[in-house]
């Protein structure tokens, strides 16, 4: 395999074992969302919300591990989720799903970029457009020019910083100050956080599992990684990734308590970043900032790379025949344009994260059944199967005002699943009738 081959850009050159497999998945999945949404989960649903957020991720990975093993066995020649779509859908369904996946990819990158913007605005005394310019330049060099090999090299460093922060900071703080003052403070300022008999939390966790599973199932970067892992180890890697990943939101929950115990707060979004002001040690502050930077940049790199590959291999190559060299060059351009787009958008818009997560949660939930059907079916499917997700998303948006964010996700999931089930039944019946007619003739 030479460096000229585009498959090197997509998957790198190595098959990853358990250790490196977990590292590459963790670097993709310890994200800006984890840093920004897990505090929101804690604030909205109390202490069980923090635990629930961890459970969501763990279950999602473990569930996907079973499917990933099947994907690798059944489609050994594929490289991306787009390859599956090409095999299993007709043109209308294919382009619809490609656009939907690109849309979710842009959302994911947007969340990372916003996380970076918040981080830099808090720590660097320079205008945001300057710090973000350097950040996106860094991402372009790693993900755009470096490809999968550079991302993989960078993943190890990211995970080191992530674990250094989530282990050292809570240990340092709770050993220095003890648990009691934190408990007293939380009881005084935010007593609802300690209230754990909350049915809503269980509802949140179960809904979260659906979102998490849907997110992993349609994640382009994760699909690429499925093809980088040693086949016999895939299930073990995903299970262990789930369990290890779950420890990080847990640690972030304990860190958040360190931030909120001393008083009230006005913005959940920047809550965790305020940890900088609560830690006295310069070394720990540096580690925390590196943790945030690593988590955000490694995810953004993975997303940039996956979206680039997806666009080049599964969208542009379908329209214009491209040589491997053209694909490499085009990848540089597309990564650059994505970085520029994100750079401009992030400076202008600033959404609330958990709401964003749940809005896109509807899309993830709507896609679960159609994608699962595509994976497990043996034939090319009708456009109706992917389009069930469009109906589901539309209905969930309509119902969100009456059902709430969580309810809308269930509406989305149930709609697409029911439509798929009805279509499957209809298909079986028509095959049965056809067989019967043939027998009579």
């Amino acid at each position: 395999m030479t460096k000229k081959k585009y498959s090197v850009y997509i998957l790198g050159t190595l098959q990853l074992g358990i250790g490196f497999g977990i590292v590459t998945l963790l670097s993709r999945w310890v994200t800006g969302n984890t840093i920004l949404s897990s505090p929101e989960a804690l604030i909205k649903y109390g202490i069980l919300g923090g635990l629930g957020y961890s459970l969501m991720g763990a279950f999602a990975f473990i569930l996907f591990g079973f499917i990933a093993t099947y994907i690798r066995k059944r489609y050994p020649m594929h490289q991306t989720i787009g390859d599956l779509l090409k095999e299993k859908t007709n043109p209308v369904g294919y382009w619809y799903t490609i656009l939907l996946l690109l849309f979710t990819g842009m959302d994911s990158m947007f969340v990372q970029a916003t996380g970076a913007a918040i981080l830099f605005s808090l720590i660097f005394p320079v205008p945001l457009y300057i710090s973000l310019f350097f950040f996106f330049s860094f991402c372009f060099i790693i993900a755009g020019l470096g490809g999968m090999q550079r991302i993989h090299q960078f993943a190890g460093i990211s995970i080191t910083f992530i674990f250094a922060a989530v282990i050292l900071i809570p240990v340092y703080f709770y050993i220095q100050n003890g648990v009691y003052p934190v408990y007293e403070g939380v009881q005084l300022y935010h007593p609802y956080l300690l209230f754990w008999k909350n049915i809503d939390t269980f509802y949140f966790v179960i809904t979260g599992i659906i979102i998490g599973f849907g997110q992993v199932l349609i994640d382009r970067a994760t699909w690429q990684r499925v093809y980088m892992l040693k086949q016999s180890r895939i299930r073990t890697i995903f299970t262990l990734t789930g369990l290890i990943w779950a420890t990080i939101p847990l640690s972030l929950s304990s860190l958040l308590l360190v931030v909120v115990y001393s008083g009230s707060f006005h913005d959940v979004k920047i809550l965790l970043f305020q940890l900088v002001y609560n830690i006295n040690s310069t070394l720990l502050i540096a580690i925390f900032l590196l943790f945030c930077f690593s988590a955000i940049s490694s995810t953004l790199n993975a997303e940039l790379h996956a979206t680039t590959v997806f666009t080049v291999k599964n969208a542009i190559s379908e329209l214009i025949p491209l040589s491997d060299q053209n694909k490499w060059h085009l990848s540089y351009w597309i990564t650059g344009m994505q970085c520029l787009f994100l750079y401009l958008v992030v400076i202008i818009i600033s959404p609330t994260f958990i709401e964003l997560l749940f809005f896109f949660g509807s899309i993830y939930a709507a896609l679960i059944s159609p994608i699962l059907w595509m994976i497990f079916s043996r034939d090319r499917l009708s456009s109706f199967v992917p389009s069930t997700s469009a109906i589901a998303i539309f209905l969930s948006i309509l119902s969100s005002s009456s059902t709430g964010h969580l309810g809308a996700i269930w509406v989305s999931f149930i709609t697409s699943t029911s439509l798929c089930a009805c279509f499957m039944l209809f298909r079986f019946l028509s095959i049965f009738r056809e067989e019967k007619r043939k027998r009579l003739l």
């Binding site: 674990f163 934190v182 408990y183 754990w196 290890i244």
Partner: protein
Amino acid sequence: MLQIEDFSLYVMFCVLAPLVGAFTLLFLFIFEKRIDLLENQANKLVLEKELQQAKYFQLNQQIQPHFFFNTLNSILSLARLNRMGELIRAIEVFSKFLKVKYKSNQSICTVAEELEYSSYYLEIQKIRFQSRLTYTIAMEEQVKQVAILPFLIQTLVENAFKHSFEKYPGKAQLNITLTLSNSHVLLTVWNSSEGVHLNNYQDARGHGLTNIKRRLQHMYAEEEASFQLIHEHGGTRAVVSWPVSYPTNLKKEAKQNEHYISR
């Protein structure tokens, strides 16, 4: 509302969880290669076992045409000599032999079953050799149910005929002895071999005896089973020794191996 004790536990869990996660990851990085190596070795062993089993069955199959050919030749000789009564008896015995032989395709049988096969063969040969052939079978009662490789006695008996009795005139004496000694079975097949040139004898025995040696190696550990061919004045003694086991145990072991392989 959470109490301070529960809250402490919660915090402890939150603080320790990433530590456990990091240690797991570190452990995997340090020991993954060793685990892979051990797994590869285990796989290699399983494959070797599988290969040996395949070879064993293949060798087992190789013996059959060897025997059939010789037996058919004996029957053909009787037919040519027009000894109808003996021919009928020979065919009857041979038919019985085949019936037993094709009843099952076991990789292990009991000494009693194996002697039954051999006695049919000897009966065929007795018809052919008449008074020239005398044979004895001496066996301890407890040896009867001990496991033995199929066709082990048969091959030795057959070789005695093929390389000694059929080639050289004179008295044909065959003694089969089975005894137990130190948790091993000791099988001795002695045949008279007057006038046989020892070197030729050894060379000619080749195929069947090599099979016995290889099958013993496959089935038992190297130091546990042995095979010796001793040429002595007036005869040749084949001595085979192997550990005492019973077919049911061996079947269980074989099943366990199969289970291990399938895993």
